[in-house]
Symmetry: C3
Subunit: 313 residues, 3 copies
């Protein structure tokens, strides 16, 4: 965390939303909303700059969203695909970073299956370099958290104090859930409930103050927002989940279940969805779904982040 702001309190990297000051978080959301509203960045604000996606774990949709954000800012994009690269030649991630830095690249979007990977790169980054965490293990995915907050704010207003939010599914392994929780707390959400099968819930002490439950029909009662998580297929191979059918019976968001939530409750999902497993078509494509809005918000949120980190003052 101490890596994120520099001496003058200016944001240098975006590694996690955990501990990010409220005014910084709200500032990013406000800037993203301004871009949505047509107050775009100065044309070619990042003209001449280059942004490198450094993905040690594949994620097409996240990579494309950052790429589109960089393009809209006029920045050039370099894609580093870790599968066909010198990482297979034994080069460390730090040396890879320093090498691409030396080519004049100042912005890095880092995805890695291991916790702390982006922070480790921020430790060794040159002074002018910005590291953006695009997902590290089960730890954090801060731009996803930001775009979820922006989507919630557009639907429910910016005062979160009365908001009851339910997070459903594999919270234990989810970086999205962690970034959402950090942001929801910073923004003062009224209540944050957690629901999922025992094997997929985190240690209670990790999410103190959040009521845990195993019964979705009960947990969803009266909430204003349902944040569904993707069920990774490997959870079944690991024996943490029985079958897709059983999971759907217990934790799939059906239209019937959604009716137990507050009127006008909204549904979020980070994608890609397992339709018919954690979410039904009727809900995913229904009027309460913010799912495509989330994707749409991803681009201005990432533009706001890139602009904040990379614009030379």
């Amino acid at each position: 965390m101490t890596l994120q702001p520099d001496g003058q309190g200016r944001l240098r990297h975006l590694l996690t939303l955990d501990g990010l000051p409220r005014e910084v978080l709200v500032g990013l959301l406000d800037r993203a909303q301004a871009i949505v509203d047509g107050a775009g960045p100065a044309p070619a604000a990042l003209d001449g700059e280059a942004v490198c996606t450094l993905f040690f774990e594949p994620s097409t949709r996240t990579r494309l969203s950052f790429q589109r954000a960089a393009q809209r800012l006029g920045a050039d994009v370099l894609n580093f695909d870790a599968s066909s690269s010198s990482t297979t030649k034994g080069e460390s991630a730090g040396d890879t970073l320093r090498t691409i830095e030396a080519m004049g690249v100042r912005g890095f979007v880092v995805r890695d299956g291991a916790e702390g990977a982006a922070a480790a790169l921020a430790e060794v980054a040159a002074p002018g370099t910005a590291i953006i965490n695009a997902g590290d293990g089960r730890s954090a995915h801060p731009t996803q958290g930001l775009l979820d907050m922006l989507s919630l704010r557009q639907a429910k207003g910016s005062d979160f104090s009365g908001l009851r939010v339910l997070v459903v599914g594999d919270v234990r392994h989810s970086r999205v859930a962690r970034s959402d929780l950090h942001a929801l707390r910073t923004l003062g959400a009224g209540e944050i409930r957690i629901c999922g099968p025992e094997a997929l819930l985190p240690a209670p002490e990790e999410m103190q103050g959040c009521p845990f439950g195993h019964d979705l029909d009960e947990a969803i009662e009266g909430v204003d927002a349902v944040m569904m998580l993707r069920l990774q297929r490997e959870r079944m191979e690991e024996g943490l989940v029985g079958s897709l059918d059983a999971y759907h019976r217990g934790y799939g968001l059906t239209a019937a279940r959604l009716r137990r939530a507050a009127p006008g409750a909204v549904v979020l999902h980070p994608g890609p969805m397992n339709r018919g497993v954690e979410i039904d078509d009727e809900v995913a494509d229904g009027p309460q779904s913010l799912i495509l809005r989330q994707v749409a918000n991803g681009v201005p949120v990432r533009m706001a982040v890139l602009e904040t980190l990379l614009l030379r003052q």
Copy 2:
């Protein structure tokens, strides 16, 4: 087909040349020819727009040609590589489309091994989105058909009524042959002959009015254009073709055979070529070959298509 034009008869998608009105087809060819002649599009005509290549089947040359066309129009390009993507996470092609649409992308170039894939995406696409079929199964490859027609027109003039065209090879499995046939008929080609081994010919009712033949020496007699098709290696594994040698003896275009065609006959091939199998070097690289001209025409044809589909009025 009903998907292609919108209510006002404006082209929304380009899925097939089958049934495309003659004036639309000729309009695209005229525009492409104007670009060839130096009447390029307005500089950066598609500035700020993004085009996504969505390839579920690899095809480097087609992808690069569309990418170059988009670049020349000032559009940004996003490449979606289906092999390392969330399709492997079980996301449907429709959800992938909607996701990338939500990022603000309006043009999609779709390649798929299955027939109807591009049309299926057009069914679910948002109102402002344009789907361009870059090859679906054995069904259609409309921009290849257009660039073949442009190449023929440059060589033989735009009145096709006296033109005798021979299509040689694996017509049964060829989307290129089907798109060429549709376009040749729309443009009123005088005669379209089909030649190939029995196992590689389509059902006669599919190509009514086209004389079929198995003897290339006979079929090539007096034609003005020979459209060679690529022999896919899997046809041998499937037992449809004996050996490459036997195929060459029966259906390879040699200089000797080409001399049986009309004087000044031209030779086309969609590439990549199997030299020494369906075509000899002497022919491929000879003065009657339009093969590189075809590739060159691919870029302005695709520029004309992108411009027609994506330029906001």
Copy 3:
């Protein structure tokens, strides 16, 4: 070599530094230095042009460096990835080149595991096309040679006559070593020593006038520059090297060994490094290391090359 300059002595391709006239080599270095010093190319000097990376052997860092150089010149970039391409459909490299040329691409950056691959493409290239060798087998990697010379010149001044240079490691299989040797000779380096295990040294007649040695402690005595080479892991599989440990004991550059060189001696490495094998952290990251400077110089060197080859007069 006769392929490189055209009739008017103008550089058409960059295939090797072997035999490149001194004034051409120095001209490229001077131009690169001017770019480093802020005398960049005219903005968007190559606007509208496209550069294609044609890599038959993967090399992320080299590809990204060329891509960044092309971007900074305003050129569009097309990446041809040989692994998912029509080369797997049996198309020859020459046909691939001609196909992409036909799309209007004039600059090709070629990487191949086989010697002479880039030169073979230059043989069949169209008149306006420029081929840049980005590494062919063990033969040449001319832009690496240029950036090494630029780095040496920045550290030691442009008069190389008093310079004692030591090249250490797998010289036999190294295209980097060969390009460095050609450039060092052309620039009149005072002494060029070669050191490595017997199995990794070239035939002495290939590098006449260069003292060979097997003892690094002895060879490094008093040199002004140490050019370390990467130890490819396959050398062990081939039985040419015993173990990484043994290699490090004999040929790893440690701080202690570096102290035997002349005061102020500089260390170069083409990357990616095997830290703890051919080079120790203390040296790689120490004040005498030019390693990141080399990477940084790669971009302006490649800009100078692209500009020289592609700018229309």
